[in-house]
Symmetry: D2
Subunit: 301 residues, 4 copies
């Protein structure tokens, strides 16, 4: 397939490499051009602008946040004016439900197709083609995308014909992860002060009712206090909780736990934890229990 790919961060680079290896014709664009270099060496074409990458059957965006996607789509030399009727914009980064709705509408007005397909998985899973993909959008468009999803992920979940619903699912999933992190953080702070061994406690958890990747991964980070380098930064965790709360506001659903977690991230960030892994909510819980104050206030750096 003739594809465009915009956004060559940790995740995007791994994903683009897999698509290229699968013999797709890839035109890549990144705001910082240097990041396109390795891909060009492997056969990708370089696009100077988003619109220059939008000439094929589909274009994937894998960007940091709403603002980056808005710029790439609606901005000068944006995708919107370049994409052909019938071509598909596949938005795979974690953006707001509201932006997904706006994208779906804008593309539809131009006879273009829009699919939301956010992913679960860290960069290593992206590199291994083992992402979980949550897709929503017009059935035919998703069918067209399926071979791409098969390259990028281990399984695709098609949740709705309404594209923004994939973003609802993705954001609710990140909320579930964050709630596990906060709960583990508080639990570890408690057993710490009781003098119970952290590693043994984690072993107990994952050997019994909590034997899932989310507990192994985040329990391991908290038990080992490995908050840097970040796999997923606290500020991104905060961003996603804010987007989840925005969705809850729009759908009129009270989410008191989500609100509490958003405040915890905000506090963590103001305590200096912006660039820590989002599992550093565990560090915050420990700090709050009076045991240690390893965080530095951001504003005094």
């Amino acid at each position: 397939m003739k594809l465009g790919f915009i956004g060559l961060g940790h995740m995007g680079t791994a994903m683009a490499a897999n698509l290229l290896a699968d013999a797709h014709t890839l035109t890549v664009h990144n705001r910082t051009p240097a990041k396109a270099e390795p891909h060009v060496k492997k056969g990708a074409k370089r696009a100077e602008t988003p619109s220059a990458a939008a000439g094929g059957e589909a274009i994937i965006t894998m960007l940091a946040d709403d603002a980056a996607v808005e710029a790439a789509v609606f901005g000068k030399n944006g995708i919107l004016d370049a994409l052909r009727p019938g071509a598909i914009h596949i938005s795979m980064s974690t953006v707001s439900v509201a932006l997904a709705a706006r994208l779906a509408e804008a593309h539809a007005e131009r006879g273009q197709l829009y699919v939301s397909a956010p992913v679960f998985g860290r960069p290593d899973a992206a590199a291994a083609g083992k992402l979980f993909i949550v897709a929503a959008g017009p059935t035919a468009a998703i069918a067209t995308c399926q071979p791409l999803f098969d390259v990028l992920g281990q399984r695709t979940f098609v949740v709705s014909e309404s594209a923004p619903n994939a973003n609802v699912v993705k954001l609710s999933g990140n909320f579930l992860i964050a709630s596990v992190i906060e709960a583990l953080g508080e639990a570890f702070a408690l057993i710490d002060k009781a003098g119970i061994d952290r590693a043994q406690y984690l072993d107990l958890l994952v050997s019994t009712l909590f034997g899932a990747p989310v507990y192994k991964t985040y329990g391991g980070l908290i038990a080992g206090e490995r908050y840097q380098p970040a796999g997923f930064k606290a500020e991104l965790g905060y961003k996603d909780m804010s987007l989840a709360l925005d969705a809850a506001q729009e759908l009129e659903v009270p989410m008191p736990l989500a609100s509490l977690i958003a405040e915890r991230f905000r506090t963590l960030i103001e305590a200096g934890g912006k660039d820590f892994d989002w599992s550093a909510l565990g560090l915050l819980a420990k700090r709050d229990s009076g045991v240690a104050t390893p965080l530095k206030p951001t504003n005094q750096d």
Copy 2:
């Protein structure tokens, strides 16, 4: 081993039956005598009082709450005055950390041994001898208990020589379960209003990062809205959150999430959900999102 067993509720009945089947000599006591009948038929002796059950090498208590254990141990015809020096009181129900500390001290004063060994698992796991046992206490005492634990459970985790620490772990575990329930409740309320299929959403969760028994069990109950009959009642969930917060107060650990969940249980109970399964926090989240009000106010019954 010559054993006493006090407390023949759903859990205790299944556990006592397994011990009896393993050829232990069992003397059973229950406040409501009729519940002892089936065990007596299978060869157990009946004790009219707690003290009458305390003549052997060890006595297990599996009772509803602190008050019941206090009555059985410190009350008239209680265990404390009957247990021989060197004999072991094994407290397997979920009681407060403070009571465990008081029991450890009282038994030690009399040359008796005390082991806290609360369990994870519902009655069906108890019947199958598949409980997870969290044990703490003097090393030698636990070694003596191990053959019993092997009959009752699939695995024993020895977490500390200080008995009350087993209760800290048990309560923290129930807090982790409750936090999963609350998070799932809010997430389901959100995806419901977005029109996403509940069963498909649950399948996505347990197929990806959340593939643990805690998500399968409680996700299944919430997705299917099967809140009655209760496997574990909301009022017990509330009790355990209160005990967890008591432990947090004693150990001086802020636990904002635990506080929030305690309030949610309190609200659920006042809304009429006392006897619902504790997963009915999911029903509360749905009610709060304006979709349905299936709960009846307790006070107007």
Copy 3:
């Protein structure tokens, strides 16, 4: 002074009447034209569009929310293109800090002046010219506005030369009021169940440490359970908590209490309380304590 006035709701009507009575030349505009009628009878000119009201030295906007102000300023036939250089836009309704910043910038680009001047006070205070006005903006512009503020209010507080800061103060004030309402709601639910007399309890509060208008007004509404008709609707309370949280996010300030109150309003609204007075958080607290369920679910109406 030659003035424009846009927004003739309960508040705006009372304010415009006072300005007219003070011999100002007033051109009024309202989206629903009928509401301009009484003012026209008293000598005001009618403007068919916002821009038609913007020909004088200053124009006041007193509109429902951000969207209404955006439409009146940036929309077709908006204020922005009609206001003369040096003329002042006085924004007196409760809008977001972000919109105030955008307005300040847009007006400055055109050589126009912008003052944020939100008010504390209900319609009866507006009618009596007894509002409290929180003003911020360029010093000279505020000096020009002062005679108008003296007609509309009993006191003006000039808090900053940066206009959006008046909105920060206004929103923080509404947060303080809402926190009093939530606290009183919980306190009344408690003393109710203890069988203590509501009126006597309120008398005790306002006779001791809590003798301020905020306790008298909202304590009176809660003690008397007078939630309808609304002086200030729950949905507006929710809106203002959301705007306060937006400001907190922008300024990077964790506000856990503000988050909790926003969730309470959301829950109240979904329970059917959208059009109740915002003091109906007290009704929610009572409902949650199991005593009564007078609210109807919105979605089943």
Copy 4:
């Protein structure tokens, strides 16, 4: 009247002095005997034990917490065995609702009378005889106490014939104060970061809707960041929130705001603020907004 007085801390000393000055015959007791000295010099008799102070018509306890009152009443040489039938125990310190109920019952069993009469006011108000007294108990007993209350306070509020209800009112009042403190703390953190002047902001608040002693006192402490020396320590604030939550649990009333505030106090204490004034919740809000970290972790001192 022939009176006993137990508890000569800051509050008790001022109260006892006023009673003595009003020509009552006073027998005083304090655990640390030296504190009785100044009163003895002014004519009071010294009692070596609580029971030795209980020979008159009434005895007042003004002690730090539940444990101190329990020791003085139920302990060795306690009040309970010494008080004559018909004599009155007036409990004026802030104790739990449960203890008040237990005291009422224990005294009644012996034909003694019990009155709960907790107070609002700091030591300076006690010295000036300007306390507010919240009284509950048998009508005749309160009538007997009234002349004493008239000496100690500026006004007495009789809230119920059931003594523990005075404690419900007192604890709910302290909850209302704490909620004001937390709200002000967050509001000041917000306006601080916006660059708004603290003193001017406070003036605005107390000149408009918030002109009550609670805002003047605590707003002044927070605006001026005068957290030491403490008028009322954070650890006492935490204790009272815990007692309020205990009452809420007993009366089955969800109080999410009270729970949040209890967690804030716990966090403040673990951050090193145990001996700060309870208004230091404002310092916590400021710390959490990343502006300053003046608190030291308790556990590392």
